[in-house]
Amino acid sequence: MQMTRRDTLALGLGAAALTILPFRVNAAAEDKIAEFTGGAETSGTGLTLTAPEIAENGNTVPISVSAPGATAILVLATGNPTPGVATFTFGPLAGSQDASTRIRLAGTQDVVAIAKMADGSFAKASSTVKVTIGGCGG
């Protein structure tokens, strides 16, 4: 069978750089958390992190955080080369303590949010977001 150049065009799964293992937690993420909390304990309640289970597009993943009564919320993409995403700060007149943004994820990893509450305590939430090659959808 004769092949034309066009026929042999690469499939280009668009994911040649994708590694197979979930990205390891970047040490810089631990540092950021320590810096934000000053090493204080974090609780699991009071903060809601909403993220997709599987990213439709790893380059722009919608996430939102909500922590009623928080003064600041730190968001980290723990597996990215630069884990820091944003720190949202809320003044005393803020109507609500919610924020939404879109972030880029280098691969499957945990997105972590930490809220600083008005009483000085901290809450933490984490969500695994999978970045996949896709296809094969039954």
Binding site: M1, A10, L11, E53, N57, T132, G134, G135, G137, G138
Partner: protein
């Protein structure tokens, strides 16, 4: 108070009819005579609400053969749980006699022999007869279509779904949700949806730009039936842009969005819903998890994973109904709703034995009308098969092996990849293979067969990635299909391992040598989700291969070794 379980009427339609006589002893005629339409439809109308569920029809208007999977592995908490029970184990679990009509309809094993005895299944004209019979009992029964309706056949591809819209409209559904429909492209979807005389639902269909509910699809709709206020909430396939080409419908975003589902349930309850039904295309395990996360759903009509279960599965106060695929089954669910509560249910998964159920003449004529312009080209015989050709199962079916063979020889490749889709009817030994049969297992709007070079290392990345999309222990991280089908290469998979450690012993079958991570291999495949994929259409590749073979010999391969089950 009487528990819901007390109301359960075990309903394997025909398992008790013939007894355990062993299947070799009757002629097909006897089998058909013993099985009557009245028996298949027999149902003691119960309560005050009836739901009729069809799903994953995949544009199969005519009767067909469809072999249920012999390999359907559950992982994590779903290991060994339905629907991950197959063959004889499935029959033992539900008390189904070997060789019975229920054996043939619901499980694998002796498929070709039983197909010879019981004949074809499905056909939307037969489905119409069943729906009409249920409506005769309960005129205001709700007919709900779980999606994957406008995809999967020659006529559906050529008419861009119009044939299915025309036939389904004649059945008068009350609502529908979606998956493969979106692969028609968002403009065509909009055109068809705007013309539907029933509700197009999907609480998880969002506008991609603004991340808010898409205007074209409503999250839910209210119905007044049997004096009960019923809310039906739609749930489209959550992983559309990942499992299928997102560039064909860039305006939309999906996801499970179970928080939003909870909001919708709360909203409809606040508006007085006495019964909350979720019409879902999540897939069974995702629905099972969602039923435990979202509170207040009474019934989930599941779809996507093509499972046919003769009894509902209960998760807390929610019942899950799995109604099979390809028009092979219709589920009837009768509910007793009183004082704003579901007090009980009665359910029957009705198998559509095509030779037993009389076709509805009006719908039969409508189907023939859709097919007439294409009949000559569709019915052309390309070859014959000596063995059983089927697809459904976690790993390669014989249809996939044949498609991979076609890719290897017609595209001059070392390794072939074919998508792990769940659709595609079966052909029994001795059957002609027509052009229509080839389209039934290949037709799609992105069917071009690519040819590419891939490093051994990258082939492993692909296999690990796809394997995690089916064997991740958390159903919410399972993206969709079965395992990618591979030709020209063998491998071993341990489904219990995490991503990156499942695949080993990748071997090039032509030489018996291990796959070298650093070496490039010529890979042919189809159904790439990437825009701009080039090559001949897969159905042309397969047709060319089969016409050269003339007769396709029986296929029996064991190039995939599965462990960790």
């Amino acid at each position: 108070m009487i528990s819901r379980r007390d109301f359960l009427q075990v309903s394997m339609a025909a398992s008790a009819l013939l007894g355990a006589s062993g299947f070799g002893s009757w002629s097909r005629l006897a089998a058909q005579q013993a099985l009557t339409q009245d028996q298949l439809l027999q149902f003691d109308t119960f309560g005050n609400v009836s739901l009729i569920h069809v799903t994953d029809i995949h544009a199969q208007l005519k009767p067909l053969y469809f072999r249920e999977p012999s390999v359907n592995l559950g992982v994590g908490g779903n290991k060994g749980a339905v629907p991950h029970v197959t063959g004889a184990d499935f029959r033992r679990l539900y008390g189904i006699d070997d060789g019975s009509p229920s054996h043939y309809a619901l499980s694998s094993g002796d498929f070709a022999a039983l197909a010879g005895m019981y004949g074809k299944v499905g056909g939307m004209d037969r489905v119409a007869t069943v729906i009409n019979a249920i409506r005769a009992d309960r005129p205001d029964a709700l007919l709900l279509d779980g999606g994957d309706t406008w995809h999967g056949s020659y006529t559906c591809l050529k008419t861009e779904g119009q044939d299915m819209v025309n036939v389904m409209n004649a059945l008068k559904p009350d609502a529908m949700t979606f998956h493969w429909e979106f692969t028609l492209g968002s403009a065509r979807v909009q055109e068809l949806v705007e013309g539907l005389p029933f509700a197009a639902l999907g609480q998880n269909i969002f506008d991609a730009e603004w991340d808010e509910p898409a205007e074209l699809f409503k999250p839910y709709k209210f119905y007044e039936t049997g004096g009960v206020k019923v809310a039906v909430i739609g749930q489209a396939f959550p992983y559309m842009p990942i499992a299928n080409p997102g560039w064909m419908f860039p305006e939309y975003s999906f996801g499970i969005r179970d928080e939003h589902m909870q909001q919708m349930v709360d909203e409809v309850r606040a508006q007085g819903a006495e019964l909350v039904v979720c019409l879902s295309h999540n897939g069974f395990d995702v629905d099972k998890k969602m039923a435990g996360v979202v509170k207040g759903i009474d019934v989930i009509l599941t779809g996507h994973t093509h499972d046919a279960l003769p009894e509902p599965v209960l998760v807390g106060e929610t019942i899950l109904i799995a109604s099979g695929s390809n028009g092979k089954f219709v589920s009837r669910v009768d509910l007793d709703v009183r004082d704003g509560r579901m007090m009980g249910f009665r359910h029957k998964l009705i198998p559509i034995f095509s030779d037993v159920i009389t076709p509805d003449a009006e719908v039969a004529a409508l189907i023939d009308e859709q097919r007439a312009p294409y009949e000559a080209e569709m019915s052309e015989v390309i070859g014959q098969t000596e063995g059983l050709l089927y697809r459904r199962g976690n790993f390669n079916g014989t249809w996939d092996d044949l498609i991979c063979d076609a890719l290897l020889s017609e595209r001059d490749a070392q390794i072939a990849m074919s998508p792990g889709v769940r659709w595609g009817p079966s052909l029994v030994p001795g059957q002609d293979i027509t052009r229509e049969d080839i389209f039934n297992v290949t037709s799609m709007s992105y069917g071009k067969a690519y040819r590419s070079e891939m490093k051994g290392e990258f082939i492993k990345v692909i296999l690990e990635d796809v394997a995690d999309n089916i064997f991740n222990p958390d159903p919410y991280y399972q993206q969709g299909g079965d395992m990618v089908r591979i030709g020209g290469m063998g491998y071993r998979i341990d489904v219990s391992k995490p991503q990156g450690e499942r695949i080993s012993e990748m071997t090039l079958l032509a030489t018996g040598e291990p796959i070298d991570p650093a070496k490039s291999y010529v890979v042919a495949g189809w159904a790439s989700v990437n825009e701009g994929t080039e090559g001949p259409q897969i159905w042309d590749v397969v047709e060319s291969h089969i016409s050269k073979l003339g007769t396709v010999p029986p296929i029996d391969r064991d190039s995939v070794t599965v462990t960790g089950t």
